[in-house]
Symmetry: C2
Subunit: 202 residues, 2 copies
């Protein structure tokens, strides 16, 4: 696959950077302030909306052909949105709530794409169920003091120390990490940001 | 958690090393030749048996208190075992077979544990379903020429370039990578190779 336009990731998250790197594309990272307050919405709509605002805030600064990718992730449990913990106590309470049970991770993606002056906007979300092992009080205290939960939606990371507490995932692993890899790849092919090397294959 | 004995990983796989590193334990890597021919068996029994042989071959060289961890992974599709591809043609044929469909990854683990002269052997396996996106001929050719499929059971890796072709996983992501992280962690706690820092918590 060959990249046809400059790509800009509208997210500071090192996890999203790593996932986008897996696609072998060159990209820059650029973030602009976006309002993150939302009303009462379905979780999939929340992450799509926030991904769209993040991507739009960055896309406004670009008049050239390019693709801007915005993304947002939340953890959903018993009708509550779990964002990033406010403090260690909040992180411990989130883990207590997740322990021994299934939570659902929603990741929204918005792609804004300008090619030869034409702009396409495409938003979608993916969800994945995550089954937590039962955590002891000691494990919760230990995990909180590692600091890993503090900047993660829902207070955990599947790809680092938190992985030991995850029994099972149903969905795209990378949706849980923060960027649905296969869906994003398919979208980039469909929009033409990634094109086959041999034109006769198209 | 505190590690109570030296740990030896009986596998050269860099992926297994990375997963064991996620548990924060110190370990060494040691591999001894083990017969890898098996008769007709259920896939879960095959990986348990091969994990046991790998662990036993290494454990024989150790008389001190220690834990040896052996592991084996196969991909199972339509009743066939897919091991590591023999050559590029074989890799392409495997990917053709996996494209657009579900395959099941079996990873067996054998733990041999000596503590105060008493030896415990514990074997188990985990399985995870992997749903592949439909791959084009160009994608198969491209992926094979990256070289990534060549040393992987089933001809793919979910955690590197191959991740883009994976729609969904049902099971422990790390079972697919090559070592079931949560099950191994739970096993090490139960056997006492990992112990809580505060004794009153046991």
């Amino acid at each position: 696959m060959v990249q046809t336009v400059p790509i800009i990731l509208a997210s500071q998250s090192p996890r999203r950077r790593e996932i986008l790197t897996m696609l072998g594309v060159d990209f820059t990272v650029e973030v602009s302030a976006a309002d993150e307050t939302v009303g009462v919405m379905e979780p999939g709509e929340i992450v799509k909306e926030l991904a769209m605002r993040k991507a739009t805030a960055v896309f406004h600064h670009h008049k050239e052909d390019c693709m801007v990718i915005g993304s947002d992730t939340i953890v959903w449990k018993d009708g509550d949105v779990l964002g990033k913990p406010k403090d260690e106590e909040d992180a411990a309470a989130m883990l207590e709530k997740l322990s021994g049970d299934i939570n659902t991770v929603y990741t929204g993606v918005c792609v804004l794409y300008r090619k030869n002056g034409t702009v396409v906007r495409d938003s979608f979300f993916e969800e994945a169920d995550v089954l937590f092992a039962k955590m002891s009080q000691e494990e919760i205290r230990w995990y909180v003091q590692t600091g890993e939960p503090m900047d993660k939606a829902g207070g955990y990371a599947v790809q680092v120390l938190g992985g030991r507490f995850i029994r099972e995932i149903r969905g795209d692993f990378y949706t849980v990490v923060g960027l649905p890899l296969n869906s994003l790849y398919e979208k980039m092919k469909r929009l033409g940001a990634l094109a086959p090397e041999n034109a006769e294959e198209v």
